[in-house]
Amino acid sequence: MISAIAVMALGAVILGALLGYASVKFKVEGDPLVDKIDGILPQTQCGQCGFPGCRPYAEAIAKGAEINLCPPGGAEGVQRLADLLGREVKALDAEEKPKAVAIIDENTCIGCTLCIQACPVDAIVGAAKQMHTIIAPLCTGCELCLPPCPVECISMQVITETVDSWKWKYPVVDIKTTGMTSTRNTPTGGAGGIKAA
């Protein structure tokens, strides 16, 4: 009886020590859920969600904030957040905008550096009383540089599709019946690129 209790107690002590050690040794810094949420957010750092950046919004979501506040992430972002968190998909709380890049009208720019300070990703170069310009590949299209500009020389330009960025479209089947002639014996049965419109 006593030996049984002793054995159980010993086991409890050993396992407790093991658990205690593991919790110290394998301690996870930060909240892994926040990292996962942050990975889904588009990192535009635009603050349109009402939080100062993507990470703070990720932290807020982890604590229970709404998941439909991120316009750059779009409906797909909401869907992915819902999948991750097991929450219900909601309609986006703002309208979705096409991706854009900020352009500085270099003739109007007075070199005040206000936009440089506002840019969350340091995508604007320039110096006091020198013309500023935007490094387009780094611009996230957050529009944070628009309000501080005293001469309104910054505009958003929607990114147009180029040959390099063009994507094949999801195949759509015409409803119209074109007869049931088999096309198996003609080479156009191939890649289908021919009717790829």
Partner: protein, 567 residues
């Protein structure tokens, strides 16, 4: 005789090649204008180096290669540049890209062509020359050739495969090239051989081209090389690089590896031909053989300038009245060009006049019945029905698990599908969607690191500012304290020499304090000088009074006698 291997899958569509091989290669007449797209090969987009109004000569470079994996582009004929900018290009999107448009002057005047003996040059120089001549893979992938001509250090190069299989229906340009210009193809292959130093050179040609096989065998003998010309069984897509390598060498290129990792490299016959022309004749790639066929009265192969409008080239074949479009490439992998006026590019091996009689519209798509025909037909041993399922559901992670990126889009699966599902379209959709996402992800990662760095920097600046302010405040306080101390000291010993700086203060502070003391002394002196101003113009009586007072003060020891200094 070499033992041949087999690749799994493949299909046997009607070849439709005989129509266009009865006539020899013809030189296409000079077009009304040539529009040369700057981006014609994989890799960087060449920068235009000509401006509107410039006179250019045939073969003059008009686009400078951008980066190592990129190839220069050249003026196909002499004339005047009339436009540099966006023009519709032969791309399934129908979008525009940068082009240089040249109006020919009709003289077709060459630049000075410099032939070189490549054997006397360093391999790097030869690769550089090929890059400058715009030599790219003309089989369809248009990968810059010089980028494939560096032998791998770790793996010895065993076989060099020269691809003359030309497996796609309708296309016969490589066939005619081998028949008529076989010697130059062999010499071009010798350049690649000399650069890569393989143990063997194998020229693979589908056995439905016996004339080409015979011509190449004769050419190899005439040049005196020991290349093996091998007829391979006709089965689409035997001309795929990986398939031909499999058939000729038995080596299977695994997922994620390149053929060079297995000691094999593969080039198209037309690429070998242009490489030879570039080095031995100094001619950059400004033209190529194009098969004009399909719904035309006179199908034939033409040597056409790059940039020739497709409708002008197709007109040479006299298209029939019901022609309603042009397919660039073959019927399996080609696409209907968005505009018949788009230019011929380096990747244009064939133009097929499209008509509904020749290519009847596809019947509607039916549900997948999971018969597995597509998996049996796939030359890469993929599972198209699974990839289709996940592409359709936009479950892109799963498509990657089924190795969608190994798909060469040959179209065998769509060809055999009894439900007429456009499988390749689904795969292309999934692939481009995955690429776009990867790009977006990379961009967002960059944005994240930059944002975090900016935050860190802002924080650091704030801290530095605070520290600076604290320092300034401390200095101010110290100064005040010192001043107070100094004032006290001067008050205590008003008549004495300024007291030495306090021992506990640092030398810098001492200097400062001394300066302050000096300034204060000067001020005092000034005050005194000003104070004595009212002593001028006094009456004798008053002066006597003052002297009496001074005498009294001196007697009582309050003042230092002023006179002794003067004495």
């Amino acid at each position: 005789m070499l033992q041949l291997f087999k690749f799994k899958g493949g299909v046997k569509p009607a070849t439709n090649k005989t129509q266009s091989v009865s006539q020899p290669i013809a030189i296409a007449p000079l077009p009304s204008h040539v529009a040369v797209p700057l981006h014609q090969s994989i890799g960087g987009t060449p920068r235009p180096i000509v401006a509107v109004g410039d006179k250019v000569l045939k073969g003059q470079k008009i686009g400078e290669a951008d980066g190592w994996i990129s190839a220069a582009v050249h003026a196909p004929t002499s004339g005047t540049v009339i436009h540099v900018g966006q023009q519709t290009v032969p791309h399934p999107s129908g979008l525009a890209a940068d082009c240089v448009v040249i109006e020919p002057d009709g003289k077709d005047e060459w630049i000075e062509r410099k032939a070189v003996d490549y054997r006397s040059l360093a391999p790097e120089t030869v690769r550089e020359l090929l890059r400058e001549a715009g030599v790219v893979g003309l089989g369809g992938a248009v990968f810059p050739t010089h980028g494939k001509l560096t032998p791998a250090k770790s793996v010895p190069m065993e076989q060099l495969v020269i691809n003359g299989a030309e497996c796609e229906p309708f296309i016969t340009c490589d066939d005619l090239l081998m028949r008529e210009r076989g010697e130059e193809v062999v010499r071009g292959a010798a350049i690649f051989r000399d650069l890569l130093q393989p143990q063997k050179v194998l020229i693979g040609i589908e056995d439905n081209k016996p004339e080409a096989v015979a011509a190449m065998q004769a050419a190899v003998k005439a040049v005196g090389e020991d290349f093996e010309v091998i007829a391979v069984p006709t089965r689409y897509p035997a001309g795929g690089a990986k398939q031909l390598i499999r058939v000729l060498t038995g080596k299977e290129v695994p997922n994620g590896k390149r053929s060079t990792d297995l000691g094999v490299q593969c080039f198209n016959v037309a690429t070998a031909y242009t490489a030879w022309r570039a080095l031995a004749h100094g001619e950059p790639v400004i033209s190529r053989l194009v098969t004009v066929t399909g719904n035309v009265a006179k199908p034939r192969n033409y040597e056409a300038l790059i940039g020739t409008p497709m409708d002008e080239l197709l007109a040479l074949g006299e298209p029939k009245a019901d022609t309603n479009g042009i397919i660039m490439g073959g019927p399996m992998m080609g696409f209907l060009v968005p505009d018949v006026k788009v230019p011929v590019v380096k990747a244009t091996n064939c133009l097929i006049a499209h008509s509904d009689a020749l290519f009847p519209p596809k019947a509607p798509e039916m549900p997948c019945i999971r018969c597995g025909e597509c998996a049996r037909a796939c030359p890469h041993e993929l599972q198209p029905f699974e990839m289709y399922w996940f592409s359709r559901a936009k479950n892109f992670g799963k498509t990657q698990e089924y190795n969608i990126f190994d798909c060469i889009e040959c179209g065998c699966c769509s060809f055999v599908c009894p439900s007429r599902i456009p499988l390749v379209q689904y795969f292309r959709f999934a692939k481009s969607e995955i690429w776009a996402r990867e790009k977006e992800k990379k961009a967002s990662e960059i944005a994240k690191t930059r944002f975090e760095f900016k935050q860190f920097r802002d924080e650091r600046e704030k801290q530095e500012k605070a520290e600076k302010l604290a320092k300034a405040a401390a200095a101010q306080a110290a100064k005040k304290a010192a001043e107070a101390a100094a004032a006290q000291a001067t008050g205590e010993a008003a008549e004495a020499v300024p007291p030495p700086a306090a021992a506990e203060t640092s030398p810098a502070d001492a200097v400062k304090k001394a300066a302050i003391q000096a300034a204060m002394a000067r001020a005092k002196a000034q005050r005194e000088a000003a104070a004595s101003r009212n002593t001028e113009s006094l009456t004798a009586e008053q002066q006597q009074d003052i002297q009496a007072i001074e005498a009294r003060r001196m007697a009582s020891g309050l003042a230092v006698p002023a006179e002794p200094k003067a004495e």
